[in-house]
């Protein structure tokens, strides 16, 4: 019983780490590539065009 609980917890924390990493990546990509705030847009302008993101 104890072993099973530990296993479930370990698998749960593993999945949590994977999901957290993926969301962190999504956040970084959104801010650098897609948020339309003027300062961000101007700084990242050339990159957004060159990576094929929709830009202004």
């Amino acid at each position: 019983m104890t072993t099973k609980t530990q296993d479930t917890t370990r698998v749960g924390s593993k999945m949590l780490a994977i999901v957290a990493t993926a969301f962190l990546g999504l956040g970084v990509m959104m801010i650098a590539g897609h948020v339309q705030a003027t300062t961000l847009h101007d700084a990242a302008h050339d990159v957004r065009h060159a990576t094929g993101f929709p830009c202004h």
Partner: protein, 226 residues
């Protein structure tokens, strides 16, 4: 686990992003700068005899602008690397083997899902090109990337024909719906430049993504084995 995932992704994303930035600055940036001369009206495509739309040599380095481009390319690819390494760890958890060699295939798949398939209906836009409003294009772009990623995952890890048929349908749907396009093509930029820009952007994207897959797999299996 979280630390190991993030560490691998930072190394992989930064390395691939740096190479992507250098390729972009050399191959894509001159086309973009050339187009901006048309966007601002310094050059005119046709209609006036006074300003020939010749191809000036576009070179030189603008430290601030190019520096920001390098920084933001590294950031974008680090974001991709975080998602890539997370996906690799999830696949490994389900029995897939991750190696630097098959990381190349992961990179190809990433390029298809995030770069090529959205570009099939919404090509990389040269500054000055006519385009629909940015919000609907972003919605279409994110929808297409999400659906295409799911479809490629199903093709790679699915085990039956019914799954593969679903995947093919998912690949087609965004393009059957169609991307938002402008009602009128009034962009002042020559189509020759737009075509070169699109193929250069896709080519650089392919190189960067293949390297991203390779590096992500390499650093992840290294971190995972220590």
């Amino acid at each position: 686990m979280f630390t190991r995932l993030v560490t691998s992704a930072l190394f992989a994303g930064f390395a691939a992003g740096l190479i992507a930035a250098l390729l972009q600055l050399y191959f894509v940036q001159p086309v973009l700068l050339h187009a901006e001369l048309y966007e601002t009206g310094a050059l005119v495509h046709f209609g006036t005899a006074a300003t020939p739309g010749a191809a000036p040599a576009m070179g030189g380095i603008d430290p601030v602008r190019d520096g920001l481009s390098i920084l933001f390319t590294a950031l974008v690819y680090t974001g991709y690397a975080l998602m890539m390494v997370a996906a690799m760890a999830a696949a490994q958890d389900r029995g897939a083997v991750i190696s630097a060699r098959n990381g190349i295939l992961w990179g190809f798949a990433g390029f298809m899902a995030v770069h090529f398939l959205p570009a099939f209906s919404l090509p990389p836009e040269l500054p000055g090109s006519a385009a629909a409003d940015v919000a609907p294009r972003q919605i279409w772009w994110f929808g297409t990337v999400a659906v295409s990623t799911l479809a490629l995952w199903l093709i790679a890890f699915g085990k039956s024909w019914s799954i593969w048929v679903v995947a093919i349908v998912l690949l087609l749907v965004p393009h059957l719906i169609g991307a938002p396009h402008p009602t009128e093509f009034l962009g002042p930029v020559p189509p020759e430049l737009a075509a070169l820009f699109a193929s250069r952007a896709l080519g650089v994207g392919l190189a960067a993504w293949v390297l991203l897959g390779l590096f992500s797999a390499y650093f992840w299996q290294r971190e995972n084995n220590t």
